[in-house]
Symmetry: C2
């Protein structure tokens, strides 16, 4: 997961005889796209056509569907430019510059204690980002790398007009469903084509990846350019214990119960099934991923290894008096912060991070309440997501035209309020204030029934009216958010002042110690920023049996049972005789990826797109904590399958011609 400004080209040359030069790296960077909801993508034409995963666009696909037009079930294909439909909440970014701002932030926090330094750092970041973001079309983010050893300013072109061009049916995009998720062999056409517009016209893109007709070969060198979300490979043992014993454990219990609720909600009928599908998919995906992560953490051998590495690192620091003096206490200070972290986490997760408020309406209400509270403050003193540089995405989220379904909102809010009461206990003063004599269902029903926030225009008016308009509205969802907000802010402030600030300074110290002891020969933990990894198309050994690196289209027909999640769509059954069943369908590579890389292009040394990342194998789930090159594999759709399906199954001539023109 190398950053583009520290790519080890020489290493790659030594191993594979190919050395990416600056021009190659620039072209790849400018052809790569970040989807801000948590995915990656890439340009595949000069007319703004973008390729990503179906599961990266599934929220959009559901949002533009209705009871009568179910694009998730039936797929979507815009036969003309005019038929391309705008996604209500999608934003796309292209990385146009990286600047090191470490010294500015070091200067701003010099000699300060933890909490003051944390506040000053935040103000400094807000200032740097604001100066960089000269218009709404530029997005700027200061990114702490190596746990704060380095701060780089990432500057993006920002695009908020993203439209849906083509999506296959859910049944082939996610063929095998939850049972096959994170598994291989696999047979998924997990793709969607989007198009970026600028000023109402398709974006002219100077850089893009031509789509290869043949896909990659076995053992071929391939690169993945994308935005891995986060990894925790440098975490100390005490941080890992918090994850294992509290955070991942509690999240799993929450998600498992939510999954059961959604599963049963789906049986209410076709429309309830449709409107809850994206939520269920997301929950199931997270649940499977967290389960794998927790199992990695529960593995005694893994933990012994982490303990051993930490012991060795501490010893190396202790052996050098200068290092010991500067950094020797960091582990214990992190452990002390983790104690606090454990005490605060449940309330933080349920109140501030919204585990207790599963509702789009509530999220809108909170945005309005916080906008009215934050925007009048000086930029450097606001909650991070309300600084000036962040206004465009906040506005886009609030004014999203995505439909909201009260029946579903009532169920999920009722349930999550019940979980909130369970987490904090019925005798907690905040819980007593929130519920008084009311049940979770009464609170939820009252707020969902009485609110006007389903209406975009109403939200816009409240946004423009600020505090006065909110007060006058007597909207029950707003009132709920206002009731919660002081406690949410209090717990967040505690978390920032007592945990985050101590972690920031001590992780920064450990980063410096690590540079001193081990050098900069490793890449930083993932930060949902653009990274480039190299690897090979290659299978692996599973309990003594070789898993081959490729599947083909014919395998999908062999695996099909006709029943979800192993049902092929009608379109595929009809097209079977026309298809070349030998066409490679999915393949695996040794590239180091993680959640956030979904939708990343797999490219060859000519910067042609040979595949589309959509998953990792089951061993990739430990990748949060370490990369095991023997077993961890990225899973991709072969470009040959993409072209074959567009042609023979979907007759998507307009897309195909656009790809071929390049």
């Amino acid at each position: 997961m190398w950053t583009f400004n520290n790519f080890p080209a020489e290493k790659v040359r030594a191993k594979y005889g190919f050395s990416p030069d600056k021009a190659w790296l620039d072209k790849v960077r400018l052809s790569s796209v970040r989807l801000t909801e948590g995915c990656s993508a890439s340009f595949v034409s000069s007319e703004g056509l973008v390729l990503t995963n179906h599961h990266c666009a599934s929220t959009c696909i559901q949002q533009i569907s209705s009871a009568r037009k179910n694009y998730s079930a039936n797929g979507f294909y815009a036969r003309t430019e005019g038929e391309e439909v705008r996604c209500p909440e999608q934003e796309a970014n292209v990385l146009i510059g990286i600047t090191d701002v470490t010294s500015q932030l070091v200067e701003a926090t010099k000699g300060m204690a933890d909490k003051a330094a944390n506040d000053a750092r935040k103000a400094g970041i807000a200032r740097i980002e604001k100066a960089c973001a000269t218009s709404d079309r530029i997005r700027c983010e200061v990114v702490p790398l190596y746990g704060g050893g380095v701060y780089d300013l990432y500057k993006y072109q920002r695009y908020q007009d993203v439209r849906l061009v083509f999506a296959p049916e859910f049944d082939i995009a996610f063929f095998g469903g939850d049972p096959d998720n994170f598994m291989f062999p696999r047979y998924d056409l997990d793709l969607t084509f989007l198009r970026i517009y600028e000023n109402g016209k398709p974006l002219r893109t100077g850089h893009y990846f031509p789509v290869s007709r043949s896909g990659p070969k076995v053992e071929e060198l391939v690169f993945v350019s994308g935005n891995p979300g986060s990894t925790n490979r440098r975490n100390t043992v005490s941080m890992l214990e918090t994850q294992r014993d509290l955070i991942t454990f509690r999240k799993l219990l929450y998600l498992a119960e939510y999954r059961g609720l959604l599963t049963e909600f789906q049986t209410r009928g076709e429309e309830p099934k449709r409107i809850s599908q994206d939520a269920l998919f997301t929950v199931e995906n997270s649940l499977k991923a967290y389960t794998g992560e927790e199992e990695a953490l529960l593995d005694e051998r893994f933990f012994a290894r982490k303990r051993g590495e930490e012991r060795e690192f501490r010893k190396r620091v202790a052996d050098d008096p200068a290092l010991e003096r500067k950094y020797g206490k960091s582990w214990d200070e992190i452990a002390a912060a983790e104690e606090k972290h454990r005490q605060l986490w449940l309330a933080y997760q349920f109140v501030e991070k919204l585990y207790g408020f599963q509702s789009d309406l509530y999220r809108h209400a909170r945005r309005l309440v916080r906008m009215a509270g934050e925007y009048p403050k000086p930029n450097g003193e606001r909650l991070a997501e309300y600084t000036d540089a962040r206004r465009p995405e906040m506005r886009q989220a609030l004014l999203s035209a995505a439909p909201i379904y009260p029946e579903f909102e009532t169920e999920t809010l009722t349930w999550s309020l019940t979980k909130l009461r369970e987490a904090l206990g019925p005798d907690d003063p905040f819980i007593r204030k929130l519920f008084a004599d009311r049940s979770p269902r009464e609170v939820a029903t009252g707020a969902v029934r009485g609110t006007a926030l389903r209406d975009v225009a109403a939200r816009k008016k409240l946004m423009e009216g600020g505090k006065a308009a909110l007060g006058a509205s007597h909207d029950p969802m707003i009132e709920l958010a206002e009731l919660v907000d002081p406690y949410a802010r209090e717990i967040r402030k505690k978390m920032e002042d007592e945990v985050e600030s101590a972690l920031a300074i001590n992780e920064e110290n450990l980063a410096k110690a690590r540079f001193a002891v081990y050098g900069k020969s490793i890449y930083p933990d993932a930060t949902f920023t653009l990274r480039l990894t190299y690897g090979q198309v290659k299978g692996w050994e599973e309990r003594g049996r070789a898993v081959p690196p490729f599947t083909n289209l014919g395998g999908a027909f062999e695996r099909a049972t006709g029943r979800f999640p192993f049902a092929l769509p009608e379109s595929w059954l009809r097209a079977k005789s026309k298809l070349n069943l030998q066409t490679p369908f999915n393949f695996v590579t040794t590239n180091d990826i993680i959640g956030g890389n979904s939708g990343s292009p797999v490219i060859d040394r000519n910067a042609e797109l040979v595949g589309l990342i959509f998953d990792g194998n089951i061993h990739s789930l430990g990748g949060d904590y370490w990369f095991d090159s023997a077993l961890n594999r990225a899973v991709a759709v072969d470009s040959a399958a993409i072209l074959e399906a567009l042609d023979k199954v979907y007759g998507a001539g307009r897309v195909l011609e656009e790809l071929r023109r390049q």
Copy 2:
């Protein structure tokens, strides 16, 4: 948790100045009742009246309810003997004898290797139990104590005609609901009166506990006589790791999801809510208990302590050449068996232990299939639950008149089949055979719709017809059970041959080593057999604050919000002015109890019943692994509250007079 044949009377005398003699112990034992579904109880009159918890009778209460008579919501009171209603599946046992059979079993397995010894031990147990159970009214069980260091034969009087006499409303029996479960202060009237019948008449009981009018005093010495289900305090570290990393972890994920499903099923309407309430209660209770257990296991300090104890014990064994030769390898052999255990557990739990088949109809089908397969075999070669000594409870379960609801069965079977497929994976040969091209819903719906097993007479006929009748029936639920049975047996046999047998011999060895090193001064792990514990009525300190040992009736009115689970029943609101609100309601004691002790009498030195155990506090959840006398508390209903409520709230004169007559 002392056995009645090894009670440390001298220790009690030294500490409290009271020494229970043989007559006292016999009286207490014969006044104590075991409810075979997993609870404890006691006689409180000479006419077979039995006191237990509401949650111990809730399955019965739901089974005899209907859409029009909801005894769970509204309570139940038989104004005459004729109105007492028989529970379809309840069995009650009174312990009438304990005999040491260790030497017989040691003789039977002498010089044999693990697997052969395991088979021989089972055959020996079947033989001993059959010889002991001279009629259907005698139940005999060989109980391995100290992990097999001692085998005792427990002989019970068996009663299968148990009738409901009185139950309060669910809302007061379980006031505070899941949020207050395992918590204190508490305000629950968690009781039910049952009556045991013999030959159609109330049982004449020679021994019973008079119910105290005043309840216990602070710091008073009290005893709890009941049947703790199981503890794992002697487990080795490798056994605990299997619990922590696999078994409890996976059970939690399963139960959390099931809870979500049931929660949403409840919203379908009043009748779905009623029929799923007992299942939801059970799941929530297990979930909270397992969560506490898992948190104990995840506590690094706890694990370090267990590791330390094991190191110390191993060292003591290693230091004695004779002990080392005989027992020194046991830990490593257990660890090797645990490796196997981990490989087999998922399939075993989902297929043999029915996590994959949540359905009463399926359970009936499996009973029929296995009865037909097992009963023709020699007694010593059968699956343990199909030996001759076990016939009466198998017959009772199969011929239960409890209603079965197809709508609910379809949902729970569909869901659990989905979990089964998830656990084993869609490519597992058994899964492929079970589902072929069908979805879990198709399998479930087909079997539930087509089966005749809802009808008791149909089940009886199939039972009597044996294999031939099953084959001729073409009943789809029977066919499903027949399809599953060979694999279920295969995985069970592997578990018995490769795990259980090695654990049995090595746990037995460790028990002997423990006797040699530490003596017999500790009580054995719980085995759902009668135990007597002594302790005091006493609060505890929680984060520096004292928790007083008693609550009173007035506290319930203060806590009430009018909304479930904090809603008091109408009957209580109406009676408020008549009640003495100072009456003690619930209290805590230092007695060492665990699940299975629910419904146990709390008695004073005069063998008067002063309370009724119904829960433990949150610290009791670690009690599976060690007993922490500073924090672990048992929670009981005060006998004074029982009498006050029967009188002033329920006007239950018939019960009250029967209690007062004693």
